[in-house]
């Protein structure tokens, strides 16, 4: 078992995966991509839908860009990313509307804003244009998972305090007084700053 773990450290896919989830966690370390999601991450359901959306769009567009990376002229690469990413976002939006109409209703315009999520663009520019399809997909998956993890943890705290429930299942009894502030913007800001603080101390990553 121990031998297996040590050997794992020399595998490229394992390193790529670990970097995305922990060492380069997009929210905690680089503070990217919270634009489109902090506002709707006040319920666990929304956070899961948004996390899946971002992960899927990042994986698909990274894979596609890695596939055609030798055909993209470097002057127009940004526009190429934009077109690829928007196409996959539209596809995801249609899926969401068809599968879970009420979550799609609640997320509203925020699903479309996955396009401008810096993570998707960042992975395309930093990794997918230089690496083969296999590693690009793993890298995108890792970044998406790191993001989803933080989003779900945040929404757990926010939904519990603002509604007394998790996934619409009442946890704190009848007498719980809702902390409405956690359902709106200020609560989101405070929780994310506590998260960044905690994870940075844990990962020993500081900026001076």
């Amino acid at each position: 078992m121990k031998k297996f773990l040590i050997r794992l450290n020399y595998q490229k896919w394992y390193n790529v995966l670990r970097d995305g989830i922990a060492r380069n966690n997009p929210i905690v370390v680089t503070v990217l991509g919270i634009c489109s999601s902090l506002a709707v991450a006040n319920m666990v359901e929304n956070a899961i839908a948004m996390g899946i959306g971002v992960t899927l769009v990042t994986m698909l567009s990274s894979a596609f860009i890695a596939l055609i990376r030798n055909l993209i002229p470097s002057q127009v690469r940004m526009v190429t990313y934009m077109v690829v990413i928007s196409t996959f976002t539209i596809v995801f939006e249609m899926f969401l509307k068809a599968l879970t109409p009420d979550i799609a209703e609640r997320l509203g315009a925020y699903v479309g804003l996955i396009i401008t999520n810096c993570i998707v663009m960042g992975r395309a520019e930093a990794f997918a244009v230089k690496n083969p399809v296999r590693y690009s997909t793993i890298d995108a998956f890792a970044s998406g998972m790191g993001y989803t993890f933080v989003l779900i943890m945040m929404s757990l705290i926010r939904e519990l305090l603002s509604n007394g429930s998790i996934l619409n299942f009442q946890f704190l009894g009848e007498n719980w007084i809702n902390w409405t502030i956690f359902a709106i913007a200020p609560g989101g800001f405070f929780i994310i700053s506590l998260f960044i603080w905690g994870l940075r101390v844990w990962l020993k990553y500081y900026e001076e």
Partner: protein, 200 residues
Amino acid sequence: MVSITVLFEIFIASLLPFNIALASILGMCPLIAISTNVTNAKGMGLAVVLVTTLTAAINWPIYEFLKWSGTDTLDLLVFMITIAASVQFLELAMQKFLPSLYTAFGIYLPLITVNCIVLAVSLFFVNYDYGFLETVVFALGSSLGWAFAIVLLSGIREKLSVIADLPRGLKGKAIAFVLLGILALAFIGFSGIARVDPIQ
């Protein structure tokens, strides 16, 4: 024809109580990254106001055309291309006619293409069924609100970096979120100011 009062109300509502940065939490990446000093924040804010209002005004007729031709599922793709193209065009035009302003804006202009709020304003007017004038006023109000937020935040951060003795893990970006939270709390105080709710 919309009356002046409605337009004014949309403007005030999108500027203060429904501030796009502090109530809808949009445009965070540049808000955090560029708010370390006031001069840069002002430049970025101005560029955002310009681009957001311009692209919303361009996107409105284009969306009407898409609705007319029945291809409005493609709105995201078309909006994105419009935004990228108009930012590029604005950059070229400025370089030619207003070189001093161009050097002042520097790298902020190309960065705006990926600023969430430019696309968000275009998506919101689709959701709320705004007319042309309402769209322009809404875009102006939202982007001015964003500029207001980034200037406020950068002022506080600049002072704080000199006088505060923070825990190591809170330094830099984490403390910016605490400040944003306090600012957002303060902006809730404006919530009675507007009768209409632009963000239903």
